[in-house]
């Protein structure tokens, strides 16, 4: 698979992720869907405590898409000012490109 990555929620005793591994770059809308699926895996309280982190992660996906996609080696943690309990949402692109617009596919 030429394109791999994951979004994950960690900290506070939680470790959940949504990964992708495919032959074509992950479309931006699927990146957003991965975050939504990840969020739905969490209990409501965990969702609430990571609300800002998820917003920031979605914003990053849109920003990356405008720049042609996030390339391999992308590693983001939100919120950037970490919570004391380390609850966070990470966006990682391990291989290839992710979050591409329809025109770039």
């Amino acid at each position: 698979m030429d394109h791999r990555g994951r979004v994950q929620a960690q900290g506070g005793g939680i470790e959940e992720s949504e990964a992708w591994a495919q032959d074509v770059p992950l479309p931006v809308e699927e990146g957003h869907e991965r975050l939504d699926v990840l969020r739905e895996k969490l209990a409501p309280r965990e969702q609430e405590m990571r609300a800002d982190a998820f917003v920031s992660a979605h914003e990053f996906i849109d920003r990356a898409a405008r720049d042609g996609g996030a390339t391999a080696g992308t590693s983001k943690s939100y919120p950037t000012r970490p919570r004391r309990d380390k609850r966070r949402v990470d966006v990682v692109v391990i291989k290839g490109v992710a979050f591409v617009l329809p025109s770039t596919r």
């Binding site: 042609g68 943690s77 950037t80 000012r81 970490p82 309990d85 990470d90 692109v93």
Partner: protein, 159 residues
């Protein structure tokens, strides 16, 4: 009270470049023998695109031989107190994956204090030690416990 540096780095491209250079020079001050012996390389991971200058991360390095990495996230100061946090994570797979990199993550508002403590953490990590770090913001003190390599574990500092 912290002496913050490049407080406007997210809105001033000159300060952003200066921040990047600051961390590069700080990294160069870390044990050169240990860095060379373990073939540490920089940069490693990045912000997603050269156009994205959000300090997330501002610096990174990794050693392919020890499967260790360092990632620094810089954020804007929220006040006059020092702000620094640290944790361990993995890149490229979970900790059971032999291809994964175990990374030391440091998130901070850049200040003399944060730089000094970040350097201490990096020194230990590069030299093969494990880290347990507790940062007491009330007393502006970072307590760092250095452990032998085989004791390295992922530590949830909030636990």
């Amino acid at each position: 009270m912290a002496s913050h540096l490049y407080k406007n780095f997210l809105v001033d491209s000159g300060e952003y470049a200066a921040s990047v250079e600051y961390w590069r020079r700080l990294w160069e001050s870390i044990d050169q023998v240990a860095r060379v012996a373990a073939d540490w390389r920089t940069p490693w991971v990045h912000t997603g695109s050269p156009l994205i200058q959000d300090g997330n991360p501002i610096f990174s390095a990794y050693s392919p031989s020890t499967r260790r990495g360092v990632r620094v996230i810089q954020f804007e100061p929220s006040g006059n107190e020092p702000e620094l946090d640290t944790w361990l994570d993995t890149f490229g797979g979970d900790i059971r994956d032999p291809d994964s990199i175990t990374e030391l993550v440091i998130a901070c508002a850049l200040s003399d204090f944060a730089a000094r403590e970040a350097a201490r953490l990096m020194e230990s990590w590069v030299s093969g030690g494990g880290i347990t770090a507790i940062f007491d913001t009330r007393r502006s003190r970072l307590e760092v416990e250095i452990k032998p390599l085989h004791d390295t574990t992922l530590v949830d500092l909030a636990a």
